[in-house]
Each structure stands twice: as C-alpha cells, then as structure tokens.
C-alpha cells in the first residue's frame, strides 16, 4: 500500500481518499433524505387534526439545552480531529469521549422531550403534524444513536491500535458524520422549533 506522508494520516492512502470522498457523497444523499423529511414536515405542519399545534407543545428551554449540547459536541469532535492530526492520542480520545457523552446527553433530553409530548397526548399517531415531527426528530435521533455506537467502536480501535491510516480514516469520517448531524439539527432548530414558536 502506497502511503503519502505529505498528507494527514487519514488521507495518506488512495483507499482512504476514496473512502472520504465516498462518505461526502453519502452525506449528499443524507441531505436529500432530510430535505424530504423537511418537505413532509412543512406540508403537514398545519395538519394538526384534533391534536395540539406546534405552539402548544414546543418548549424553548428543552430545545436550547439540546442545541447547546449538540453544538458543543460538534466543537469537541473538531478538536478531537485536530488533536489527532497533532498525533496526540490521549487528547484525541478525551475529546471523542466528551463528544459521545454530550451526544448521549442530547439523546436523553430528546427522549425526555418525547415523553413529555406523549404525556400531553401528543403521540406519533395523533395527527399528520405530529407524525411528521416525530419522524423528522426520530430520524435525526436514530442517527445520533447510531453515531454513539459507531464512535465507541472507533474509540476501541484507536485505543488498541493507535493512529494508523485505518483508524485515523475512520475517526475522520466519523467526525464528518457528527458535524453533519449538527448541521441537520441547526435546520431542525431553526425551521421546526423557532419557526413554530415564531
């Protein structure tokens, strides 16, 4: 395998470069996926039936906590990749662990939000609006959940093998995924919650 030492380790082999490009294209597909979910939400947001409307259920405080947790986790994983490029394994792992903990925190608050909704009688079966809301948030939440498992698996490999072309490549791609989830959240935050409360 040819290793190009002039590049960061995650870009150093041809295979790694292919994987990074491939993942970017996957993120393009993810944009299309979330755009469709947003389409569904925008079309159905007025379809409240006999259920509550957005203004009735959205709570700014919960949303702000989730937003802050996810924004910070996006920041820390960026720092993790920076540390990885400096070759600092311990720092990198610390930042990754902080990221995953923040992600877990986000999930806890999201689940709590869902439970509150359900207690208020707003379930995924209540109305077109709520079906689309839960599906949009749920798809994002599932991505975060998947990310937690994935990130843990990568951390285990970094711990065991150190920084190799493979592990750095995986970590870098994972960071792209995590940042992307933050981008999606920004749009949920703006066009679901803030627009709903406007």
């Amino acid at each position: 395998m040819k290793i190009d030492n002039s590049l960061p380790l995650e870009y150093s082999t041809e295979e790694n470069r292919l994987k990074i490009l491939g993942f970017w294209i996957f993120l393009g597909a993810e944009i299309a996926l979330f755009s469709t979910l947003f389409t569904v939400y925008f079309v159905l947001v007025n379809g409240v039936g006999n259920g509550p409307s957005p203004k009735d259920i959205y709570e700014l405080k919960m949303v702000l906590i989730q937003t802050f947790l996810l924004l910070t986790s996006s920041f820390t994983i960026g720092l993790g990749i920076h540390a990885m490029r400096l070759g600092l394994k311990k720092a990198m792992m610390t930042f990754f662990i902080i990221t995953l903990v923040l992600g877990l925190g986000f999930l806890v608050f999201e689940i709590e939000e869902f439970i509150t909704y359900v207690h208020e009688g707003a379930t995924i079966q209540t109305s077109g609006f709520l079906s689309s809301l839960f599906t949009l948030l749920g798809t994002h939440g599932l991505h975060v959940t998947f990310g937690l498992f994935w990130g843990t698996a990568i951390l285990m490999q970094v711990k065991k093998q150190g920084f190799t072309p493979e592990t750095t490549n995986k970590s870098f791609i994972f960071s792209l995924y995590w940042h992307f989830l933050d981008v999606v959240w920004i749009f949920i935050f703006s066009f679901v919650y803030l627009k709903g409360l406007m």
């Binding site: 491939g22 996926l33 569904v40 159905l44 077109g128 079906s131």
Partner: protein, 648 residues
C-alpha cells in the same frame, strides 16, 4: 394471522401451478447443487465474491429471471384483456399482476440489468482494476437480491401488493388494502433501494477517482459518462424513496397519520413523494441506455461519436431537469394553472437535450460504414421507435391535453414506447455486445437477428394499438371491459403482439444456450474492432482486469493505438493488490431478508433478532482487518501467457 391467510392457497389453477413450479424449481436447484457437489464452488466463487465482473453477472442473471416473471405477468394481463368480459383472471389477481409487473420490470429487471452491465463494464472502460469499494459492491448486490427475494415470496406467502406500482394512498392504506401485500412493497423496495443507493455512491467514486492515467472527464467513453450521471441521480433520488417507503410502513404498521384521510394526514403527499423519486428513476433506467447506444452506434458505424461535448452537456441537463418535472404525473390533482404550467414547461424542456442526442446519433451514422450486427440492429431500431415515445411524451407533457390522456392506455403505450426501446432494447443490445467480453464467445448472429425482428415487430404490434385505445377512452388497469366499448379487436391485436414478444425472448434465451454449446471461442478480446478500453484486455477478463494499466491520451485512445500500430500498454508488470472475498455481504443480505420478512408480518421479536444479526455483520466489518492480497508478477505472467493462448 391465520395459517390460511399466511399461505395463499387459491383455487385458481394458474396461480397454483406457478406456486408449485416455484417450489419445485427451488428444490431442483438445491438437489442439483448437492448432487454435483457445487455448494463449495458456489460459496467460494460466487456468494462471497467481490469481483465486479461476477457481481455484474449475478445482477444480470437475477434481472433475466425477473424479466421472465414480469413477462409472464404481462402475458397474463394481455391475455385477460384480449377479449371483452374475459374470465381468465379475477379482479384481485389482475390487480396483483399489474402491480408486480410494474415493480418487477422497473426495480428488479431494468435497473439491476443496467447496474449489472455497469458493474461488468465500467471498471474495464476506465482502465481500473475494480470499483472503489468492492466489498460495498457485494453488499449492494445482496441487498438487492434480498429485496427481490422478498417481493417474490409475497406471491406464495401472504399475498402480493395489489394497489398498483404507484401504491397511491388511501388505496394502499391498511383500511383499503388490508393484506400484507403492501407491507412487502414497502420493505422489499426499501431493502433493495438501500443497496441501489450504495451502488450509486460506489460508482460515482469509482468513475471520479479510479480512471486510468490521462483519462480526463472529457476523454471518458460515453457509457461511462452516462453511468456517472445516472449514479448522481440515484444518490439524490433514492433517499426520497427511502423516506416515502418508511412513511408508508409507519402508516400501515404503526398507525401514523401521514397519508390518512383524517387527523391532518394528506393522501396526495404520497403521490407527490413517490413521483419525486419515480420520475428521476425513469432517467436512471434511460440514461445508461443512451450510453450503451452511443458505444454501439459508434463502434458499428466505425466512426467517433458525433458532438461528444453536446452529448455530455445534454445528459447533465437531463439529470437536473429530471428533478423538476415530477408533478406531470398528476396534473389532474387539482393544483392551480400556475403550478401545472411550470411543470409542463419543465417537462417539455427535456425534449430539447433528448433531441440533441437523437441528432447526434444520426450524424454519427453520417459518412460512417454501418454493419448490421445484432446489437447495432437494436440500437438502430431504438431511434425511430423511441422518437415515437419521445414525441408522445411531449404531448403528455402538455397539462391541458393530459387531462384527456391521464390514466389511459395512451399513457401506457407512451411509457412502453419509451422504456422498451429505451431500456429493454439497450440492455439486450448491451448484453449481445459485451457478451464475448465476459464469456469469451459471441452469441449467435442468426438467432440474435431472428430474436431482434420478432421482438421489434411484435413490440409495435403489442403497443401501437394502445395509443388508439387510449384516445378512445380506455383507461389503464381495467381487468375487464364490456363488448359495446369496442375495445376488443385492438386488445386482441395487442395480445398477439405480446405473444410475439414472448417468442422473441424465448429465442433470446435459446440463443444463450446454443451459443454456450456451439459458438466459436474468441481469443482476440476485440471481436468488433471497437474503440473503448474494455476491448483492449483479454476475453474473458482476468480477475485483475489489466496486467498493466493503460495510459489514455484521447477519447477512443485504444482505437488510435490500433490504427497507428502503437502499443496501448506500456510498462512492466508489477504486483497487483486485490481485495479478498468475504461472506459478510451475503450474510448481511440474508439477515436483511429475514428482517424484512418478519417485519412484513409485524412479528417483532424475530424482527429484532434479525436486526441484531444485521448489526452483528456491521460490527464484524468495523473490527475486521482485511488488507486484501497481492498477485505476484510471476502469476500475472502465467495468466497473461495462458490467455494469449501460449502453451506452457
């Protein structure tokens, strides 16, 4: 769920016979494999392969089987409509049959056939040793196969979907389609759709990053260009299908309110999402066909492709426009004149780049030296027939006129006039054209031409009458009609055409059998004196494709190398890195198939267990350390000498 609902025991002798034949066929394969002790061979050489050529062959094999099944569906439909008040099929069977005909032909025949051809050819055409992600490629195939298996199981267990391949809500909702048929729809399409999305990513990266040195984008063969653009469409269109199917599943199995008739749901949203995906899907199956025709026409006219640049530009234009026209499938849904006009104009605009391509092909023939081989015949027949499909498409694109064509046989005739010459002719042409590359011998020309004439003439006999029936007010999807409508004679004519088409396909299959036994072997690797790089390597292609990666300095570089008697391959043999085989993709496909099946019946615990199986294969993959293997220089020399026919 009661057992008699689970297994579809019907008193219909035809369906029962079909079921029995499926079971017997499966049993025969199983016994045969055991008897000839081929399980090991099957596992090591095929089920675990990551070789793009073999994956391509498997895609095409499945596509051919699906072509057979979809074709039988079509024959049954035409037979049922041949005479008024026919009792061959009842409404339920007819509805299931036209639904599965549509699904199978588009998603499990046309698309996999094309993906199969691109698997076999694209790496060869760009001078690469494999696709970018060989393992992912195998995963794509097995997910597709899992989806195909699931949809076909529906025929025997639980009942097939019966709400049309468009599955419009509320008809497809639990209330109006209470059988599990549409659960199969959502899950089978979902699983194979994920596989297709992965293919899309894989081929974009392959084409963008793995081209032979010197092959800039504007020096790529036209088929590669068309495949690149197709995969771009796949990557951005399939997520829409993923969402739509997920919502369908949620609505049917989890009680959500997306497409319901009360509580704020909206039935039209399904139609909207479906066509946001399904219109680009049409171009996914048409654009590679354009690429195949470009290759074949320029090969057998012995001339470079006319207007290469405008061909590329028009394909890019088509790919962008394909995302802007979906509403023309439901002009009659009651949106305003403004919305309909916008989508009308966008729709008709597609005719412009398509027309450009048409004239470019015609001018490729100009001053050429045309030989009428079987693939060339299909490509030439495509031009006049597809033009009929194209111009009727423009007619349908006019919103006002569509109020009279919508849902009629005119529409059915139109899309068959587009899809059969556009896609089916192309894959058959490509199949004949590239067959010697894969198997090392050509298909018989006489049988090929006989098949061609049968198929082309019968096609027109089968579908031309439908234009007239449509203008006479015959709607599609009617399982029966009365005598006084006067639809009888033309439907009978159409049935005769359908029989002819069936005969043509039988000749095609017989040709495969005949040629396998008697066709002379071709060792040159370049039987047509063709132009693009895939013809520069041996036939059949060695596992590493090219012993030395060629350097490309122009479009048709291989052609010019031959003409100038210059060497195409320069350099020394070097060890070649290859990916190793793996059973993980196959097992993942199996796990997906089980998961889908249990989900169809809402058996949650087995479904969760299968889902854990899927995750297990993923976890295995992330911890796996597989660096592939190297083929040594000596082995390359040995293989090359053997392929050149040198005796050792």
């Amino acid at each position: 769920m009661k057992w008699d609902e689970f297994f579809v025991f019907t008193h219909d002798p035809m369906l029962f016979a079909a079921m029995i034949s499926i079971v017997l066929g499966g049993l025969a394969i199983f016994v045969g494999l055991t008897y000839f002790k081929k399980w090991g061979y099957l596992w090591t050489e095929w089920l675990t392969t990551v070789d793009h050529k073999r994956i391509g062959v498997m895609y095409i094999l499945v596509a051919l089987v699906m072509l057979f099944r979809g074709g039988v569906d079509a024959l049954l439909m035409r037979a049922q409509s041949a005479v008024p008040e026919n009792g061959l099929l009842n409404a339920q069977h007819y509805n299931e049959i036209f639904t599965t005909h549509g699904l199978l032909m588009i998603l499990f025949m046309a698309m996999p056939f094309i993906i199969g051809l691109m698997n076999v050819i694209i790496p060869l055409q760009i001078g690469a040793r494999d696709v970018a992600f060989p393992r992912l490629n195998a995963v794509s195939f097995w997910l597709f196969a899992a989806g195909a298996a699931l949809l076909n199981i529906s025929f025997v267990i639980g009942g097939s979907p019966d709400a049309g391949w468009t599955a419009y809500f509320p008809l497809a909702s639990l209330e109006y389609s209470p059988t599990v048929g549409n659960n199969y729809y959502s899950l089978a399409l979902q699983i194979s759709g994920i596989g297709t999305l992965m293919t899309g990513i894989n081929f974009i990266v392959t084409i963008l990053k793995m081209r032979a040195p010197g092959m800039t984008l504007m020096k790529m063969p036209m088929f590669t260009w068309s495949v690149l653009i197709t995969n771009v469409i796949i990557v951005f269109a399939f997520p829409v299908l993923t969402v739509a199917l997920a919502l369908m599943m949620l609505d049917r199995q989890f009680g959500t309110q997306f497409f319901t008739m009360s509580n704020g749901g909206m039935d039209m949203l399904w139609a909207n999402l479906f066509w946001v995906w399904a219109h680009p899907e049409v171009y996914i199956v048409i654009l590679p066909a354009f690429g195949i025709y470009s290759e074949i026409i320029s090969t057998f006219a012995r001339k470079n492709l006319y207007g290469y640049k405008s061909m590329v530009v028009s394909m890019v234009a088509i790919s962008l426009l394909s995302f802007l026209v979906w509403a023309h499938h439901f002009y009659t849904m009651g949106q305003g004149v403004m919305a309909n006009s916008i989508f009308s104009i966008a729709t008709m605009a597609i005719a412009v780049p398509t027309g450009v391509k048409m004239f470019n092909w015609l001018f490729t023939l100009h001053k050429g030296k045309i030989t009428f081989t079987t693939p060339m015949l299909y490509s030439l027949a495509f031009i006049p027939i597809f033009t009929i499909g194209g111009v009727t498409g423009v007619m349908l694109g006019m919103a006002s006129a569509d109020y009279q064509y919508h849902n009629t046989m005119f529409l059915v005739a139109h899309f068959h006039y587009v899809l059969i010459p556009g896609t089916v002719f192309a894959v058959i042409a490509g199949f004949h054209y590239w067959y010697p590359k894969v198997f090392g011998y050509q298909l018989n020309e006489r049988l090929g031409k006989l098949g061609f004439w049968l198929i082309t003439i019968s096609f027109n006999v089968a579908f031309m009458p439908l234009f007239i029936l449509g203008l006479n007010g015959m709607t599609r999807r009617m399982y029966t009609y009365s005598e006084e409508t006067g639809f009888g004679p033309l439907n009978m004519l159409s049935f005769v055409g359908a029989l002819g088409l069936a005969l043509g396909f039988i000749v095609l299959v017989y040709n495969i059998y005949w040629s396998a036994r008697y066709s002379p072997r071709d060792t040159s690797g370049d039987p047509y004196d063709a132009r693009s790089p895939e013809w520069s390597t041996h036939s059949p292609v060695p596992v590493y494709n090219f012993a030395i990666v060629p350097t490309i300095n122009s479009l048709d570089a291989f052609w010019y190398a031959k003409k100038n008697k210059a060497p195409f391959f320069e350099g020394k043999y070097e060890p070649i890195h290859m990916p190793s085989n793996s059973g993980q993709p196959f097992l993942m496909g199996v796990a997906f198939c089980f998961w889908g099946f249990f989900m169809v019946f809402s058996w949650w615990i087995p479904a969760i267990i299968s889902a854990l199986g899927i995750f297990a294969t993923m976890i295995y993959r992330t911890f796996e350390r597989d660096h592939g293997y190297y083929i040594s220089v000596e082995e390359i020399e040995r293989t090359e000498n053997a392929l050149r026919g040198d005796k050792q």
